[in-house]
Every structure is written in C-alpha cells, then in structure tokens.
Symmetry: C3
Subunit: 349 residues, 3 copies
C-alpha cells in the first residue's frame, strides 16, 4: 500500500468536495523575523508592537501576506501537487488580524471544474479558508489551477465554472481591522506624510528599489510556508523543465513587490483584499526584481472614518527598472513583467 | 599564553574524563522558525501548539533533531575540533521534551579510547548528555570520532573499547513523551491515515521529494547550532581538502532526510532513539538529497497503549532518486548513498 | 507629486537639524535566532537566559551589535541613501541592555557639515540615538558620511567640524550593564578561563577561525536590519560600480569579526563602547573573513569591582589568515584588511 501522497488529479475532484489540509501552523515571532530578513518589509504596524498598540492593535499583527503564504502552503499537497500552472486568484479577503502565537489551518472547497479540450488537463477552482485556533476565519481566497488528468479514458467532469467577482467590495473588509486611533498614527514613524487623501486615481509610482533573488532565499521562504511544490526545490528536476532550472514560488514575488512598494505607499499598512493576480512570467534565482504601482480606484469604507481604501495595481518586473512603468500592451505582457496584482490597501485618512 | 582553543588531541583524553561544554543555549521560537525554513518539516506536533496541546503536550515541542544538533554543537570545540572523521553514533535517547524557552547545555564523558596502528590517529568514544535549565536530562548519545594525535612520540593509551548496544530497548523510551490523548489525534491534520498498525516489517517507502542544498543554508544551520567545525565554513580551507570544497555538517543531512520522510511517515511524530548512524559519503552544496526508509522492526512500548514504536532505517542519497531504493551491497555503499540511519519512531496506535 | 523617498543630499542638511527615522522595530527572539544563524556567535550571556539571569540580567540581552544594526538601519533612508562612502564612527556607547520584546527607534541630529573642495560632495556628521519603547536611550553614536550634493550651484554650507573624542571614557559606560554576581559567573560555561586580569596591553590574539560569506546571508542580514542601502541588494546596479558587484554592509563584517573573536575573548561579554572604526576595504560574497585582536588598553571601570574594561582593536581580513597579524603600515592598509575597529569590552574580573 502506497503511503506517500500522490497528490490529486483532475478526476479526483468534484464540485462541492471539501478538504481538510494537513499541518496546522503556529505563526511566531520567529516567522516574523525570517519574513523581514527575506523581504525587508518596513511597514511600521507590522514591525513594532508599540506603533501597532498605539493605534489600536493588540500587538504588531502578522504581515497579511505571511498569513496568506501559510494558509496557501497547506493547500499545495492536496490541490496543486500535480498542477501544470497556477492560473489566477480572486476574491481574496484578509478578514481578521493574526498575532504571534496564533495557529492557522486550512480547508478548501472545490467550487468549479472544467476539462480542457486536449483531454489531458483541466482547471480546478478552489476556495480556500484559513482559520485560527478558535475556528475564526482569518483569510479566504479562490484560486484556479491547471491540473493533470491521470486516466485520460475517464469521461470529462460536468463543466461548472464559478462566477467570480472582479473586485472585492469595500464593505467586505470594513471590519477586517480594529478601529484605528488616528490621532496616534505618526507619519514620521510610519515613514511617509502621504495619507489616503493624497493619492489620486491614475497616479503611478515607481518604487525605485530592487532586490536580486538567491536560491537559498526563495527555498527558505517556501519551506517556511511548508509549501511542498517540487519545482521550487529540486535542481535536477529543474534541469528537465523548459527553463532548465528551479522556479521561484510566485508568492515570493508578491511579498517582495509588496516590500518594495513601501517606498511610495508606506502608509498602506493593511492589505485588505486581493481582487486578482497573475504570475505573468516565471522568476529565477539571479533575477533582480523591481516594482511599480498604479492607483486604480479610491473608495471610502462603509462605517469607517479612520481609514480609506486604495485599489492598487502593483506590477513587478525582472531585470528591468520600472521608471518607464513596463506594462501589458495589445501584444500582451513584455517578458520583463512577472507579476500583475490588483488589491485593496487600507490607509489612514 | 595562548587564549584560543586549540581543541583536544588523542593524548588529551583519558577514559573517565568528564567535560563541561561551553555556551548553554536557550532554544526559542526563533530557532524553530529557522529550522522549518531550513528543512521544511511538516510534522503537526512540532508545527502547531494547538495540535500538540490537544494530544497532551504543554505546547509544540522542539523538534528532536534540533535538540540533538544544539547539544551536539556544544561538544565540537572539545571533542572533534581535530577530528579526521565522525565514525558513528549509538545509544542515542531522546528522554524528555524540550519547549521554547528551555535552555540546554552539554557535558561529555570519555568512555573509550583506541590508538590506530599508524600511531598518528586514534578513536575516542564519547557519551554526551544534554540537560535543560533544571538539570534534567533531555538527551543522551554516544559517538566515536577519529582524532589526531599531536605528539606521536607519546605512548599509546591503553585500549578500552566500550560495549555499545546495537539497538536501544523500547523500555528505555517508554516515558520520553507524555501520554497521548489518542482520541484527539487527528489524522487529517497530521497528514496521513496510516498509523502504527498499518506498517509492516520489511516495508520500504520511497519518500519521493527532494531538496537541493545551498552553501548559505547549511552554513546558517550549522552556525545556528553553534557548531564550530571549520570544514563547514571556510571555502579556502575547503580548497585544500581532498574534495576541494566545504563539507556539509552530517546532521544537516539527517534533518533533511527526516523532513523528507514526512511523505510516508507523517504520523511518526517523535524520534525516540537513534540506534546507530553513519555518514557514508560526504555531501556538498549543489547536491540534491532524496531519501527512502525501511521498517525493520515493530515494537510495542511497555506500559503504553497509546503509541507504538517503528524501528526505521532511513537512507539518504545525493543526486539520485530513491525509487529503486539504492542500498549497501557486498561491495559496500554506492557513491550516491550519504546517510544510513537506524532509529525508533513513535507513532499513534 | 513624488511619493518615494529621494534621500537627502548635502544641501538638505544643516547643523542642528533633527530627524525622526521611520519604522520602530520590536526586536524578538526571532531576530536573535537569525543573528546566531548568520554569525555563529557563542557568548554565553547572549545565548542563554539561565546564564544571563544567574549573573544579574533579566534575561539574555540582545547582542549589542544587533541593537546597533537595528538603530543604524533606520537612519539609512534619511542620512546615507545618497552616500558615496561611510567614513567613520566615533563616540558609540551601548547605554542600556535591550531584551527580546523591546522596541527600538532612532533619531538623529546633524552635528557637523563640510563641503569637499570638488563642490560635488561633502561630509555630514550625524549623532544618532536609539531609544526603547519607554523613551530610554539604549545606544548613541556618531558617524560621518560622504554625501552627494545635488545642486552644485548652491553655495557651500558653513564648515563646522565637530570635536569628536578619540576614546570613550570608561566612566561613560560604568552603568551600562547591571551589577554582575561574579560568584555565579561560570568560566566553563562561558568557554574560557581567561578573565580581565589575564590580558595584557600589547597582547595580540589570532582568532584562528574563518567564515566564507554568501550573497543570501548578507542580504538576509541587511534586510533584517531594515537597512535599505541599494548597493547591498541589486546585482545589476553592482555591475555598474567599480567593483562590478554587490557590496556587503560593513556592519555585517563587524558582527562576523566579533563572533570570530569569541575564540580568544570568550569572556568579553559586553561591547560597552566603540571608540572608532573604519571599513578599510570592501567585502564581497565569496570572501573568507578572518580576524585578529590587540589589547591596546586596560582600564578599571569607576565604581565597578565586578568587571573591568579591555580596549581592543579588532582587525578583520579577507582571504588571508591572521596568523601574522596583517596590519596598517606606513604605506597604509594592505588590500586584505577590511575592518579596523577600536572598542571597549567588558570582562569579569
């Protein structure tokens, strides 16, 4: 009897199926330190207990994306071990702060299925939920993944494509953080004088800074999240793929882009939701990552006078500065673009 | 007067000698996070306070091998700074859980000596003991090391080779963990439906996954353990050895093999004892490590209805998949085998 | 309106100017673990709560240099983003222990200015202060930096060069650590029998050990400190500088030299002050770092019978052993010397 996990194939899934993922994870100050060492993020709320407590948090909360990676990592053995590609994200909501000492665990529900016309692969739509040790939901998101079919002779599953929102409603994250004691929010300590009111729709920001990636760094990050996708860790397997090398976990690029975005969005202290995201091109050790952002929408948050929301599109590039804002054209994305992420950022008013 | 530590040579040791090793070490959640980042281990008991407490632990205990490396690291400056080779381990017992915040320290006793016929080296047998801040023993093991003799004109020490057990008795580790509330042990969260009763003697498991090692990773690991052996850290010194490069600490491979073994042994939540172990071939940065295991014995543990013991032999290889279980033959080990470890694993019944 | 930080140029500074730096930082056990993993420091006071508490500390204090890097890192975006070179340090005092959970923040005051004769650069003298969450000063130091002038048509600022002490007075750090219960100080656990009384002025110590540096290591260190200087992180930018590569943060070398100095100065448990320091040559990934020290002065500390001070000069080299104590000559420093640091070390009497 095989005791190792073969992962799931297209035919192992059905709409409505629920999965309890293995290995709940206590997130600690140790994880926070590693996260800082890996990305260099400088947002004051996540860096300093004193700053966070002054404005109304219990302590410095865990970085939203670190929570995301932890919840996501647990889903990999069950939902993407036999994935060909991670196609997209939608409807991702950061619902409740996570603090050091909290334990997160993940469950998933299959919400859509579609076999591709080649009969060898299909798309699985998964809604995953992260909960803390009290069973409270801290995070929810949908992703869709292209997965291999093992037995091609099986009939195709009934096609069922979920209707996913293009954009999370601001009312959905109105309660995702405590009320901010805005009079205690110190711009100097946060690192910018620019608050919600100072940004305009259409405004573009080149985040200027850049980071060159190393194998040891992305491997340590991805193991920290207990993400087991083989493509990130096995050099010999890498030699056999079309790039000839290990691929960097897409979430590593998201976290790096977010850290780079501090320089221009320093008061965007909470990532409230991800509307959508695509890993446009792969990223490898040795690549140097840059980022730029565009403010695509400003929104008040129902019932909140303390904070407002900026809908931001952050684009990350490799080996090319963002001073000219490299972007998608009618011919698609240029090779230098690796990430296109659309999200809501909370900022003090 | 020389104030630096020259290490001990063969002639500095005598049977019965006791050594207090320097630098007690508080093991923290920070060390745990780094350990996860370095190996990607996913055992639920060590990953989640909630899971550990549900079944009877005070909190998520420190990974057994992390405790081993910490205790081992302290012995290096006194027992193996002038070592030619680390020859073997025996009678290693993990006696008491260690929790974040506990401080471990090490002492050693020389239990055997033998000069080699070349008159330039000899073998030192050392029993080392790790204690917590309350003086309670948490770990004990014997290792034997080939050490240089400095003054070849000195007479050989009287030969005294200790009688070491080939196998730790299950009764010796019956009390090494708290009683498990087996009704609370959740297979889904642990990641496998296979408990003690589902394994059979002779069963072999290819752990499938693999990890490519980087210089920064093994250096960070070995420094974390405050292990000072020069061969791991100095590239220039490496150029002068017969491999032309830095050697990876053998314990790094043990921890990696243990982490890989999760895929097939996910419920083996406590390493109760190491019966013996050999680093068969050296391992270097750039190598990709795979592992397979064989169940060589099943044992009930006296007085315990909650857990049983599996005696497991885990073999790690470099740059070669374990699907065909590469192993020792009459001609010895193939070059791809780097570790052969014989240990007792506790598993819920 | 530009929302990214352009950094300050020579003309943005004036004597008497004060700056509140961004991002207060809670230093945790996670940071301590990473620090150990990055440098392998083995001083007992910083490694073990039990050892530290036995002699009078509340817990194992944060390594003095880790505090320094955290305070220093925050000053970079405001004082050295447009720096050509970091010219020197003086009058650095470690005033109060920092424990895990404390939050440090930084402020700076410009205490001197001088335009260089080329009219394109100048020197800015900065006194920076680190405080804990209670507003207590934990650290103070002066550094001077060569900074670019942006608008060369502006008149030169009035030259004002501060009078800096060549040496911190021992009375200045008499109260920087608690009274030591000297009867509880255990030489075996600390790793050396040599206390203050055993060192002599003029004594030189080769610290023997060495470490080869990796890109991933220094990048993780420098990000951990939230130090944003671009030269450390961007490989492509590195290709355009005169070395053709990323430069390693000078503080990384200081910490490494301090960790290496354990082998010979194991009882030097507290770095009380830095009298001066120079990064003599740059250091790169792949370099192997060695260190040696000279005792240049012994001093009693006013009012303290428990500890004495050693004024130590530690010299770090790259790719060359320190057995012959490579040093400055009439022709200047040889290329192998990378650091010359003059500091006060506290040692039990």
């Amino acid at each position: 009897m095989n005791k190792t996990n073969p992962g799931n194939f297209l035919e192992n899934h059905y709409v409505g199926q629920t999965i309890t993922h293995a290995t709940p994870r206590t997130i600690t100050e140790g994880d926070v330190a590693l996260y800082t060492a890996l990305y260099g993020s400088r947002f004051a709320v996540q860096s300093a207990d004193s700053f966070a407590m002054d404005i109304g948090f219990e302590a410095a909360p865990i970085d939203d994306l670190l929570v995301f990676h932890m919840v996501f990592g647990k889903t990999v053995p069950d939902t993407s071990l036999n994935a060909v590609a991670n196609l997209g994200y939608a409807d991702c909501k950061f619902i409740r702060p996570v603090y050091p000492g909290d334990t997160v665990s993940s469950t998933s529900k299959i919400i859509g299925l579609k076999e591709n016309s080649n009969g060898r692969t299909g798309v699985v739509y998964v809604r995953s939920t992260g909960r803390n040790q009290n069973g409270e939901i801290v995070l929810e998101y949908v992703r869709w993944v292209m997965v291999r079919k093992k037995d091609k002779s099986l009939p195709a599953p009934e096609e069922d494509i979920p209707n996913l929102p293009k954009r999370v409603e601001p009312s959905d994250f109105a309660s995702s953080i405590p009320e901010i004691r805005i009079e205690n929010y110190n711009n100097d300590l946060a690192g910018s004088q620019h608050r919600w009111g100072d940004y305009e729709e259409g405004e573009k920001i080149d985040h200027v800074d850049a980071m060159t990636l190393e194998e040891a760094e992305h491997q340590m990050a991805t193991r920290l999240y207990q993400n087991t996708a083989k493509v990130h860790f096995n050099h010999l397997l890498g030699l056999t793929n079309r790039f000839g090398r290990r691929l960097i976990y897409g979430g590593h690029v998201i976290s790096l882009a977010r850290a780079l975005s501090y320089n221009g969005l320093a008061n965007g202290f909470h990532l409230a939701a991800i509307n959508g995201g695509r890993h446009v091109n792969p990223c490898f050790a040795g690549d140097t990552v840059y980022a730029w952002s565009e403010i695509i929408e400003k929104a008040e948050i129902p019932g909140r006078e303390d904070v407002g929301a900026l809908r931001v599109r952050t684009v990350a590039t490799k080996n090319r500065s963002c001073e000219n804002f490299p972007d998608k054209t009618d011919d698609g994305y240029p090779n230098c673009v690796i990430l296109d992420l659309d999200y809501w950022l909370m900022m003090p008013r």
